[in-house]
């Protein structure tokens, strides 16, 4: 099945079996390996991407439903090699340790800040409740998102 969609602002077309997961299309067909698989069942959120403005688990989305959508992945956050405010805050706060949950966390955080530019700590926790982290205890991730909210303008919605 041929699917054309927009990934990180670029129009792309793939030819893939209809029930192939969006996660696998990103990683294999488009070689965008930033989005990760942690569980294959929508529990860990490592595969989170933003589709048509909403954050979803790409391991649960079949490619046949992605015709004409816009997708934002972690690779689309930085511009010209420069980290966006969230990535910068993560770096400064020490919010990434092993880094495997980080792409998903950034995407969920980006989705939150796109609609709520001044979230409370509780709202941040709610927004990342579908992203499991085993390294950090979440503390510095929440700190980083708080910091990014204070210092940034949200980038245009995907």
């Amino acid at each position: 099945m041929k699917i054309s969609f927009q990934i990180n602002g670029v129009d792309r077309e793939v030819d893939a079996p209809p029930m192939k997961r969006l996660l696998d299309v990103l990683r294999e067909d488009l070689r965008l390996t930033g989005t990760k698989e942690g569980c294959g069942e929508g529990e860990c959120g490592a595969c989170s991407v933003i589709v048509n403005g909403e954050v979803i688990n790409s391991c649960l989305a079949p490619i046949c439903q992605m015709q004409g959508v816009t997708v934002l992945t972690v690779e689309g956050l930085s511009r010209d090699g420069r980290l966006d405010s969230l990535q910068q805050a993560f770096l400064e706060c020490g919010a990434a340790q092993c880094g495997i949950c980080t792409p998903g966390m950034l995407i969920s955080a980006r989705s939150l800040l796109n609609t709520n530019s001044h979230p409370t700590r509780d709202e941040i926790k709610e927004a990342i409740a579908g992203n499991l982290c085993r390294c950090t205890g979440y503390i510095k991730i929440i700190d980083a998102i708080e910091q990014a909210a204070l210092t940034s303008q949200a980038t245009p919605r995907a």
Binding site: E54, P62, Q65, S108
Partner: protein, 283 residues
């Protein structure tokens, strides 16, 4: 030889009906995929053909019908949470939706999916049962409406025929003298399957209970109504004695099991405590 299922995306309900009349027994309907894709990934799903209804906007929409609300099958949990109409008229459904998965799941999971997936632990189901909701099902043979409390006939089994599709769910709005409650105990605070989940709809004047609907999930092969306990409480004055009796009655009325998530004893005990807590709030 290698598993590569096909998918077809009908653009109208009539097309869906046609497809289902041909291949309803074999093809599986897929909406948001939050249940089906898990099974597909785990290779526990046998389907080789899928009917993708994600773009079928005829199944979307929350309609105010005056005394009732009609919720299209493809309404996502996020849409329910954000709907002022749902919040004002069936608030327990918003509460339930908030406890399902996390935001990623809420953006794609649909109420229709929750209903046809027929898990005994489906979190929206007790709300639908407590509200005596009505299921609207369509096929090439026409549309029929079924009382939600007659919809399940066994573990993961519904009354739907292979050529039918769930169109919508219909619920009565809360009247001024009615209240609803939702209570879920999960394995953790998000991304949690319920150990016990309950919804209550109650009509109360002064200190007397006019009626009470108590529905529970995760304590039986399907969502159930606690009829004995409802009987006990109907037309009863709300006081500490009746609350105690209700706690004991519901604990004994249900027959939960011990499984990988919880124990029979815990479920019985907490079902009683949850009901008592809800009733105490009304006193």
């Amino acid at each position: 030889m290698i598993y590569a299922p096909t998918a077809v995306a009908p653009t109208s309900l009539d097309e869906v009906y046609e497809l289902l009349s041909e291949r309803g027994g074999r093809a599986k309907i897929i909406a948001g995929g939050t249940d089906l894709m898990v099974a597909l990934n785990a290779e526990s799903l046998n389907a080789k053909e899928f009917i993708d209804i994600w773009r079928l906007n005829e199944l979307r929409g929350i309609d105010d019908e005056g005394e009732t609300i009609r919720i299209g099958a493809l309404t996502t949990y996020t849409q329910l949470i954000k709907s002022p109409l749902i919040l004002s008229s069936v608030p327990a459904l918003v509460e339930a939706s908030r406890t399902i998965g996390a935001i990623q799941i809420q953006n794609r999971g649909t109420i229709g999916g929750n209903i046809v997936n027929a898990s005994p632990a489906g979190d929206s189901l007790p709300v639908l049962a407590a509200f005596d909701a009505e299921v609207e099902i369509g096929s090439i043979r026409g549309v029929r409406r079924i009382d939600f409390n007659q919809f399940y006939i066994g573990y993961r089994q519904t009354v739907m025929d292979a050529d039918e599709i769930l169109l919508a769910i219909r619920m009565r709005k809360l009247n001024p003298n009615e209240q609803s409650f939702f209570f879920k105990v999960g394995t953790r605070r998000a991304q949690a399957i319920s150990k016990i989940v309950t919804a209550v709809k109650i009509g109360i004047t002064g200190a007397e209970i006019n009626f009470i609907n108590i529905a529970l999930g995760s304590v039986a092969p399907t969502v159930i109504r606690a009829k004995l306990t409802e009987s006990l409480l109907t037309n009863a004055p709300l006081d500490t004695t009746i609350i105690e009796r209700a706690r004991r009655t519901i604990s004994q009325e249900i027959a939960p099991i011990t499984d990988v998530r919880s124990t029979e004893h815990y479920r019985r005990t907490v079902a009683g405590n949850a009901l008592a807590k809800i009733l105490r709030r009304l006193m």
